[in-house]
Amino acid sequence: MTTRDLVFVVVGTITAVSALLAVTTRHVVHAALWLLVSLGSLAGCYLVLGQELVGLVQLLVYVGAIVVLVLFALMLTRAPIGPQSEISTPAWQRALAVVLGGATSALLAALLLPLLASAQVDLDRPETGTTQIAQAVFGTWVWPFELLSVLLLVALIGAFAVSRLVLHREGEAA
């Protein structure tokens, strides 16, 4: 077991445990914070596997943006801060969720592990670095890349069109 394996096991365990805590805790804010830990350590997993850019994107987009959005969503709704017995998930739903989640994980593990268990990758000399990814994004994937700018634009316009409440200083545009 190399140092890399050891670090990966540690970071991976943190990811998995905090993900479990995120879905089992009864405090909705705690769930968001555990999600933060989980997504952050997933970025660590990517780093250990030698994919700097993916780790960075994970940090920027998931830890930075997605968790911020989750917290904002909590603030913008009338979500209660503490655990509430009347809206908490009933036991049978929790049991069903455990069964479903477990079954899906088992299915995926049964599918992926035998296929990829013997795969070998040289992590010290990764095939793709940031430069290669940039060349692929701007060379091969131009079209989806430019479409993404449209998607971001639509997201912003939709957000503003929906959330605009009053006509404050609407006259300015006239």
Partner: protein, 120 residues
């Protein structure tokens, strides 16, 4: 490959250790004199309420702030590899990136003109 991360990990550990040490030291050596005002959240003199003012909802404006942050956050995700590989990419890639930024800025101009950036 992994050598550049050793100093970073070292710094990370140092940071955690410093924080833990500070908290621990103040627990041990700090004086403990409690009163009601000190136990309140923020100690700012305003009574904390379980919900935000006006119907228990934080103004929807903050949603636009979050969306603005996210949109430009994702834009920066693409700027990073572009900047790293700039010398190997041609003029075509520069045009692509400019188009990308211009498209997103159209939305920005719209939000700005319609008063989305004013905090009344």
């Amino acid at each position: 490959m992994s050598e550049p991360y050793v100093p970073i990990l070292f710094m990370l550990g140092l940071g955690f250790a410093f924080a833990a040490l500070s908290v621990f030291t103040s627990l041990v050596v700090g004086p403990k004199r409690y009163n009601r005002a000190k136990l309140e959240a923020y100690e700012c003199g305003i009574q904390p309420s379980p919900q935000a003012a006006g119907g228990g909802r934080i103004p929807i404006k903050y949603y636009l702030t979050a969306m603005l942050f996210i949109v430009f956050d994702i834009e920066s995700v693409f700027l990073y590899p572009f900047a790293v590989a700039f010398n190997k990419l041609g003029l075509f890639a520069l045009v692509e990136m400019v188009l990308f930024i211009l498209t997103v800025f159209v939305a920005y101009a719209y939000v700005w003109r319609r008063g989305g950036l004013d905090w009344d």
